[in-house]
């Protein structure tokens, strides 16, 4: 499969690189964000493309991709859910929320571990992972679906219905 970055995406990337007049390397995160937003995840080709774009060795990009939990190396579902796991949300029922979301979307999390935090539904429509503190501790439990944020989540059916 050939890796093709559309012209509109590349021009957005080129514009972002101008935000770092001192060092192009600083643009690693924004370039990766833009590619992940377009492709859904960061493939080996995306890493190499980023390295070439910023005149870096690919390892300098790969080490960034593998460090940050916000970067994914495999495709998530069409709708990617992040449930806050941390204390205040856990006290407000985030583990129970995770269970009901998995039941509702038919996701099995039994294979999840630190290196494979994301679980996918069989039809590939939904994926889910626990996130550490989403900084909305007063309105837990909270979650995100793609870039949408939800607080005080209690009605899982209504939440999932919004994502056909």
């Amino acid at each position: 499969m050939s890796f093709l970055v559309p012209a509109t995406v590349e021009s957005e990337i080129d514009e972002r690189i101008t935000h770092y007049p001192v060092s192009k390397r600083s643009a690693v995160l924004p370039v990766l964000h833009t590619l992940q937003h377009h492709f859904g995840y960061l493939s080996e080709e995306a890493v190499e493309w980023t390295a070439a774009k910023l005149d870096l060795e690919p390892i300098k990009v790969l080490e960034v991709v593998t460090f940050y939990p916000g970067f994914r190396q495999s495709a998530p579902g069409k709708y990617h859910i992040r449930v806050c796991r941390t204390l205040s949300c856990a006290m407000a029922g985030s583990y129970e929320l995770m269970e009901s979301l998995c039941a509702k979307t038919g996701i099995d999390r039994s294979g999840v571990d630190h290196h494979h935090p994301i679980a996918l539904s069989a039809d590939g429509k939904f994926s889910i992972e626990f996130a550490e503190c989403l900084a909305s501790c007063g309105s837990g439990p909270v979650c995100m679906v793609n870039d949408d944020f939800y607080e005080n989540v209690s009605d899982v059916d209504a939440l999932i219905q919004q994502y056909p």
Binding site: S26, P69, R85, S88, A90, D113, C137, G138, D147
Partner: protein, 464 residues
């Protein structure tokens, strides 16, 4: 200024003193420049540009503003650390990586009042001589990043940013830089590494302050969102009047974020030190849930040492020394430090008697094990072992001696790492053991004394 109306059900509590949160949840408010300008935005920038930059720093020093991100370090003093002989470019970074569990204040400023932050940043940049600044915003705030970029574009169009700001001859560009989900990026030197496009491994100290050597090895000021917002209010009412709010050495207002077992969790901007822990919980947050008793409070984000209900603390010196209980503690920097904890980021987590202390500690340990950057061995290995041991504890597979092992692991991390994450991850375990040892031991199984060398117990529930 006419009276401000707030959205129904979102009105500030009568004990609040809203300065930075003046426009949060305000009726008819939106994050646009037009709305901000109708409410006096950028007037303080205009004033600042007529002052000498050092006079702006002096005002911030005189006000006694202390950083709202966690350490409580005096902001004006930090600005003053830029070497006077410096010839390199100076940078300013707004730390909007809000990640400390229990903290949720910057989120509302970024989403609802971006121009307050931008104005504070332009004034701060003018004071320290920065011509390039970044807002490092956490990846989990995608909407905030968009709102900030829109606000920056609006401000630039009106001449509040860019070349020759308001015809003063001062130039400044601000860009938004999104993180990628790592707590360690809240540590200022880790943040700088991240902004340089690298793994966010915190830098070895000294130099202790990026003001000496920071981004691209140039003098760099890193300030929290709330801190930078305060700068414009200091200029607006004057350092002296600003310092008259709050209490001596703990001046101004700050936002307390309360979560956990209270009736009405939320964010409350109060004068520093003018509200006690008890008033915060019982009066402002509507008290505990029916039939519950207060068990513990984590007062300044999850890294802060836990305080136990019924504990007594000696505060004050000499003739002023007195013994107080948990609910008598005034919410300020110095008293919380005297009580052996810290005001930290203002995130107050309330724990009632329905909670298992082992479960709470294990949740915290899972967080730190996930977020250790892995650079220093004591923290990388220790945070994981603390998680594994408390995983065993909540699974009913820990032996009584595990609590001693846990204690020893924690005390071998703190003070032995490059950055303060070592303390952040060790303090919860150290303080929970100091204050709740009996309860932790009660969750162990005496028959499992040899379990520690059992392969199954080593890996049980430890799928990290």
């Amino acid at each position: 200024m006419s009276a401000i109306a707030y959205k129904s059900g979102r009105e500030p509590h009568a004990r609040e003193h809203r300065v930075v949160f003046r426009n949060i949840d305000r009726d008819g408010w939106d994050p646009s420049l037009a709305t901000a300008l109708k409410n006096g935005a950028y007037e303080q920038l205009n004033k600042a540009l007529t002052m000498e930059p050092t006079a702006v720093t002096d005002e911030v020093k005189k006000a006694g503003l202390r950083g709202r991100g966690g350490a409580g370090f005096p902001t004006g003093v930090k600005w003053g650390f830029i070497p006077p002989t410096n010839t390199k470019p100076v940078y300013l970074i707004c730390n909007a990586d809000e990640s400390e569990p229990g903290t949720f204040k910057d989120r509302y400023i970024l989403h609802q009042d971006p121009h307050q932050l931008i104005e504070g940043m332009v004034i701060a940049c003018y004071a320290v001589g920065a011509k390039l600044a970044y807002i490092y915003v956490r990846e989990e705030f995608p909407e905030a990043a968009t709102i900030l970029e829109t606000a920056i574009a609006e401000a630039k169009k009106k001449g509040f940013l860019g070349k020759n700001i308001l015809q003063s001859g001062f130039d400044l560009e601000i860009y938004v830089h999104r993180g990628a989900g790592a707590y360690i990026c809240g540590e200022e030197t880790g943040l700088i590494e991240s902004l340089e496009g690298k793994r966010p491994y915190p830098r070895i100290k000294p130099p202790y302050f990026p003001a000496a050597m920071g981004l691209y090895l140039c003098p760099t000021i890193v300030n929290n969102v709330e801190t930078l917002c305060h700068v414009k209010h200091i200029l607006e009412i004057g350092a002296e009047a600003w310092a008259n709010t709050g209490t001596p050495n703990n001046t101004g207002t700050r936002i307390l974020c309360v979560s956990g077992d209270v009736q009405k969790p939320g964010y409350f901007e109060v004068e520093v030190g003018k509200v006690t822990m008890g008033e915060l919980i019982h009066e402002i947050c509507g008290g505990l849930k029916p039939g519950r008793k207060l068990k513990a409070v984590i007062p300044g984000g999850s890294s802060a040492k836990v305080l136990r209900a019924g504990e007594s603390f000696t505060v004050g010196r000499g003739d002023a020394a007195k013994t107080i209980g948990l609910e008598d503690i005034p919410m300020d920097f110095d008293t919380l430090a005297a009580c052996g904890s810290m005001a930290g980021s203002g995130g107050v987590i309330v724990i009632d008697d329905s909670r298992s202390i082992s479960w709470v500690l294990n949740n915290i340990n899972n967080f730190y094990a996930h977020e250790s950057c892995g650079q220093c061995t004591p923290c990388r290995e220790g945070s994981l072992w603390m998680k594994k041991i408390t995983d065993r504890l909540v699974a009913g597979k820990a032996s009584p001696s595990d609590i001693d092992t846990l204690d020893s692991v924690a005390r071998n991390i703190d003070g032995r790492t490059i950055c303060a994450f070592g303390e952040a991850c060790a303090w919860p375990t150290e303080s929970f053991i100091d204050k709740f040892r009996d309860e932790l031991v009660a969750d162990t199984k005496p028959g499992l004394e040899t379990a520690i060398v059992n392969a199954e117990s080593l890996t049980a529930a430890a799928n990290l």
